[in-house]
Subunit: 396 residues, 2 copies
């Protein structure tokens, strides 16, 4: 939404002011004015509104230097709370955040992949929300301003519909209305890639850059695009399906039904296949447990185990190519790599990938980009969904 009306301007500026405080940042009115490129008076007015609404508060700390001390402002903690739900193929994670986006509660439950009935899944989501609320003394549903739920697959945010969730075989499941039947909290939906990218924009390095790409390496892979400071959604909110772009024409089959997809080469399963290829009898292999194997592999790579290092090298090649594709296509200033696979390896993965990215990127876009590992400690999906819920249901 580009502002056309003067009223949109204020709303946009209000969001922008609020965003500059995410992550516990402490700023003065002057700082905010400089960051937004507006006058101090305007920043002061908006901050006044937000303070009156109970969203910002002065931390009376005075700064020396001669002259009137600038009053430092921060987000005010406390109610109303926001719940972010990460609904995935095998689990539901509900996390509750206070107004300052500090996580104050966590609830997790497994979901059998075969448990694919919409009503049942929605039930699990509602249960986990009630679970995370119940886990906090003195917090009731009345203190929760809203819930953001991340759903796998294609999500229609406006309609509140899961357009397509391949893992459950869903097509056009009216998630929001099913949810509302069981729980009367305000709710909004989105796709995990969007949530992660949003989290990275608000709490990660991506916030400092106007053009970035946030890559998620997990069981599945995908990315989010930030262009001119805004999250790119595409026509139907499904931009970022990098995992299903072709990297190797007529290559390995992908579980999406196509062949040669990026995900078939850099998804967690592909990583384990590589390890098996390098050493079929590797003791690092934990049968039936992807996450454990990846953890052992990462640990072995850190102590320079030759099998692990060789596996990492082989993994880095398709990954680097696919990242170079994103660099060439989108020319970002920052490329953040996150997701549980990336987190397991940490910096060594980036170090292995960077030369490949360089090899397959054009010089100019390569020189313009910085590769970085995500520094978000919490679950970025629920965090991002909580931010979305905050901006939708709380921000005036």
């Amino acid at each position: 939404m580009r502002p056309r009306l003067s009223g949109d301007l204020r709303r946009a500026n209000r969001v922008e002011v609020m965003r500059s405080f995410y992550g516990g940042r402490t700023l003065t009115r002057g700082d905010v004015a400089a960051q937004l490129g507006v006058s101090v008076a305007t920043a002061g007015t908006i901050i006044g509104e937000l303070t009156a609404a109970g969203l910002l508060a002065e931390t009376q700390s005075t700064r020396s230097g001669g002259g009137r001390p600038a009053s430092q402002l921060t987000m005010r903690a406390g109610a109303p709370y926001l719940v972010g739900v990460d609904l995935a193929e095998t689990h539901v994670i509900a996390e509750i955040f206070d107004q300052a986006m500090t996580r104050i509660g966590h609830f997790q439950m497994p979901v059998a992949p075969t448990d694919d009935d919409p009503d049942s899944v929605v039930g699990h989501v509602v249960d986990s929300i009630q679970g995370v609320i119940a886990g906090l003394a003195g917090v009731s549903a009345a203190d929760v301003a809203g819930v953001g739920v991340s759903l796998p697959g294609q999500v229609d945010r406006e309609g509140g519909v899961s357009v397509h969730a391949p893992n459950w075989g869903w097509h056009g499941v009216p998630f929001t209305s099913l949810f509302t039947k069981r729980c009367d909290l305000p709710v909004l939906l989105d796709n995990p890639l969007k949530a992660i990218t949003l989290a990275e924009m608000m709490f990660g390095e991506a916030g400092d850059h106007d053009d970035s790409v946030v890559v998620n390496l997990g069981t599945g892979v995908g990315l989010g695009v930030v262009a001119e400071g805004r999250l790119l959604r595409g026509r139907t909110n499904s931009a970022g399906e990098w995992g299903h772009t072709v990297l190797v024409a007529d290559g390995l089959p992908c579980h999406c039904g196509s062949r040669g997809c990026v995900e078939a080469y850099v998804g967690a399963a592909a990583l384990l296949d590589l390890l098996t290829e390098v050493d079929p009898d590797s003791p690092l292999l934990v049968p039936g447990d992807q996450a454990a194997t990846v953890a052992k592999l990462a640990e072995a790579a850190r102590r320079a185990d030759p099998v692990a290092v060789a596996t990492l090298e082989r993994f880095a090649r398709p990954l680097g190519m696919a990242l170079a594709n994103a660099v060439n296509m989108l020319n970002p200033e920052l490329l953040v790599v996150g997701g549980w696979v990336s987190a397991a390896f940490g910096e060594p993965l980036l170090a292995a990938v960077e030369p490949v990215v360089k090899e397959f990127s054009l010089t100019v876009p390569y020189d313009a980009v910085t590769l970085a590992a995500s520094r978000i400690a919490d679950n970025p999906v629920s965090l991002g969904m909580a931010v979305l819920a905050f901006e939708t249901f709380v921000l005036p």
Copy 2:
């Protein structure tokens, strides 16, 4: 630049009003208001300004229907003129447009690919500009408001520098300042992909959609991304290098030095290689003349020549995959295919490609996208550059 100040708003709205008139469109004040989502009064004010500035004019045609006849408005033809220059590896094309963006003059000269001295190339550009002006009776340089020059490779618009032009081995050539030494017309630089996309946004179907992708198939290939109605440039104006994304890991060598690039499979040279593969002795092959061969091939395909059809089918596969990559990655509403290779084949190319795009796209983004052949008859590069020059140098 997102509007933050109320003044930016008016400027943005003025551009938007003007854009709604490109392509000879005739609209009433009410139409413009509806298109922009502003009130009739505002549209009237802006139109008043633009009329006063001599950019719009009423075509007194009255529409019946009872009531005061709506006055139809159009862009006013005539001076000041704009020149768009398409500087490519083998030619310079300068075209001159009147204010209504109607082409009123054309000048073309070949440039030897070995003629790579910056001063010499700039000289050719200046000569071609003077040539196109001289070709018009009653038009002098004083009537030209500005020039837009498209340069191959990476272009720094703000700095007026050709950051990297691989075909000439340029690195950091200060094009604008070289130009200014020889010609005192206002000048701006951009990359041809951006120019084409802009032309498609203003004069093609892409103008009717907020999220589109404009693909250029020529000797080299690339694309432009329109997201939320705005051209995506990336950090250093080099977004859209789709031609150098990897489609076949460790595949054919590309002249960029990498391997497996899209361009190595869907560039004009690759098309001719396919033809040679299908029938090494094909009479369609015109040695040493890419364009002529493609023209004959396209003509043969139209009359269902088996060799041509087989070549087209084989060409459609990597092209469809690469287009599917763009669809999955960007989720556009419209995908416009242009460039001289595409123009030679016309609709049959799209018909051959569409099933491949479908095969390699995810269902949801595929269903959201429409494939279309470019309908811009003129050279979109010079047209786009002229538009850019108009909006920079003429629009208040």
